[in-house]
């Protein structure tokens, strides 16, 4: 399924998949005819109990993502290892959740939103370059309501009539959107290194204990 011009979701029929928790990722390994192997990590987009799906952004000069986004066809096979990770994982205990995603960093956060029982308050602050780059845009609109609040920011231009933010995430934005630290929210931040560092530093400045902030960084090249 095409999400944006650069992003695609693939459903994987992984025999013997043991199930996963929201926030985990898997590794995809491709092997060329000459035996050369390339391996990359991708966040799982689907909630537990649903068909396994990953959402991939095509990175220029990448070794794996161009194949997965542009070339993979129904019935193609490749090696998958997972589920992986136990740190960037959400356990729903009713406490409010603050999710901060940059670009395709929204993918593991979407798995969390999709797996929510509906009673836990969740806020998502989601930074995209342009309106067309917003992944899961319609589904996020559909899911937004009392318990799920979605705040968008666009960093490289916005359409006429846009009412969301139009700049990189900064402390003022975090102050407006984040739960007060006193509510002891769970925090998950995923995106590029620069994005994650800025958001995490901002939340610490707002009084969030550093250990309450869970982060996952991905590389911007070579995927």
């Amino acid at each position: 399924m095409t999400e944006t011009p650069r992003v695609r979701t693939l459903t994987i029929d992984a025999e013997g998949w043991p199930g996963h928790r929201p926030g985990q990722h898997l590794d995809v390994r491709l092997t060329a005819e000459d035996g050369y192997q390339a391996e990359r990590s991708y966040s799982i987009a689907s909630p537990p109990g649903m068909p396994l799906a990953i959402t991939i952004e095509r990175l220029e000069n990448g070794e794996v993502s161009p194949y997965l986004v542009d070339e993979a066809r129904e019935g193609d096979g490749f090696e998958v290892r997972g589920p992986i990770g136990g740190y960037f994982v959400w356990e729903d205990d009713g406490r409010p959740v603050f999710l901060v995603g940059g670009g395709s960093g929204v993918v593991p956060l979407m798995a969390m939103i999709r797996s929510s029982s509906g009673s836990t308050p969740i806020r998502l602050l989601y930074s995209s370059r342009t309106f067309e780059d917003i992944i899961y845009r319609e589904e996020l609109e559909d899911r937004a309501g009392d318990r799920v609040e979605v705040f968008h920011t666009l960093t490289r231009g916005h359409p006429p009539g846009w009412t969301g933010y139009t700049r990189r995430i900064d402390n003022e934005m975090l102050t407006e959107v984040a739960w007060p630290a006193s509510e002891q929210p769970h925090v998950f931040i995923c995106g590029s290194t620069r994005f994650v560092d800025a958001a995490a530093d901002g939340l610490v400045a707002l009084g969030y204990p550093p250990l309450s902030i869970r982060t996952e960084r991905f590389g911007a090249t070579g995927g």
């Binding site: 997972g82 992986i84 740190y87 960037f88 620069r194 996952e216 960084r217 991905f218 590389g219």
Partner: protein, 87 residues
């Protein structure tokens, strides 16, 4: 400006799972240099070198280096004081 090559320990979860047989990102490591205990997920990881370099997020010392070849793996753990694994 942040170094965009710097990832974190989540990125080596798959490799560590293969090497150690257990989920390692939530495992506590102690840095031999500064003595700080932290989980592997919060280490600093560089994967753009010929091998993978894992550094302490607190003092930046090298904790671990991993080089993978086609039929073997070289593992340098000399920067680690200890690792606390679940039974």
């Amino acid at each position: 400006m942040a170094d965009e090559r710097r990832l974190d320990g989540n990125a080596i979860g798959g490799m560590m799972l293969e090497l150690f047989g257990v989920e390692m990102t939530t495992v506590t490591e102690v840095c031999r240099t500064c003595g700080t205990a932290d989980v592997f997920a919060r280490t600093e990881v560089y994967m753009d070198a010929p091998g993978t370099v894992v550094r302490c997020a607190h003092c930046k010392s090298v904790l671990m280096r991993v080089v993978r070849g086609p039929d073997r793996t070289w593992l340098d753990l000399s920067g680690l004081g200890s690792v606390e694994l679940p039974n």
